[in-house]
């Protein structure tokens, strides 16, 4: 399930709900991203996430579908907020349920990596010196590129998947 929303969410409540929805699943992996109170040495007073309504939901749905193609997943949840939020508030939550723990953990990692480089969100930080747009990081691009299918020879497996026996 994909949820793009302005309202805050409670990660504990969301996890409890996700867990309760399936009693037959062995492993659940979760990643939760929150607003940090500083970026390097700069205090962050607040963060505003702009997004592209419509395209956001479409891209997140594509990324979720790709994860389900690559791993045997029982259930997935992606919640991403937009608008202004304060340090400590959750921005994004990804939850993945699978019978196989590595599938759950890898899919969780994949979802957050691709979401960070493909879902149209832009962060604007409020600092004591004023507002500034966060710049995209090469490390995020590299992390996302790990999951690119390399060639037909990899026979439908992700690079990381194939390292797991």
């Amino acid at each position: 399930m994909i949820r793009v929303q302005h309202e805050p969410f409670d990660p504990g409540v969301e996890l409890a709900r996700f867990v309760a929805s399936r009693t037959d699943v062995g492993g659940i992996a979760v990643f939760l991203g929150r607003v940090r109170d500083r970026a390097g040495d700069t205090p962050i007073l607040a963060m505003t996430l702009e997004h592209y309504p419509g395209m956001t939901e479409r891209k997140l749905a594509e990324i979720e579908a790709e994860a389900r193609r690559r791993w045997p997943l029982e259930d997935t949840l992606v919640i991403h907020r937009y608008g202004r939020m304060m340090p400590g508030e959750p921005i994004v939550m990804v939850a993945v349920a699978s019978a196989h723990r590595h599938a759950a953990l890898e899919a969780c990692s994949f979802l957050i990596d691709w979401l960070k480089t493909r879902a149209p969100f832009w962060k604007c930080e409020e600092t004591p010196q004023g507002e500034r747009w966060v710049e995209a990081r090469t490390s995020d691009e590299l992390a996302a590129a790990r999951w690119e299918r390399r060639s037909a020879a990899s026979s439908g497996q992700s690079p990381a998947q194939s390292s797991f026996s």
Partner: protein
């Protein structure tokens, strides 16, 4: 057609979106970019720099110089920074 700008590109054009007819002589994305660079010089600077501006047509990323039609939605924005 509908043109949309996000994040700091929106601040450079001074508008989040504009409705315009497909301009005369503009058939491809590259031609639209040139036309928009002329209309919004500070957007033009960003478009001229390599790898600074991403483009989506009808809410899908487009890297190629595709043909446009009058009912397309074209969006320009910096690399995304969500998550």
């Amino acid at each position: 057609m509908r043109i949309r700008y996000f994040a700091w590109l929106r601040q450079r054009t001074g508008c989040a979106e504009e409705e315009i007819p497909l301009p005369p002589g503009v058939r491809r994305l590259s031609e639209l970019k040139l036309w928009l660079a002329n209309r919004h010089p500070r957007l033009g600077e960003a478009l001229a720099a390599k790898g600074v501006v991403r483009c989506a047509v009808n809410q899908d990323y487009v890297a190629e110089d595709i043909e446009l039609s009058d009912d397309d939605e074209v969006a320009f924005f910096p690399p995304v920074t969500g998550g």
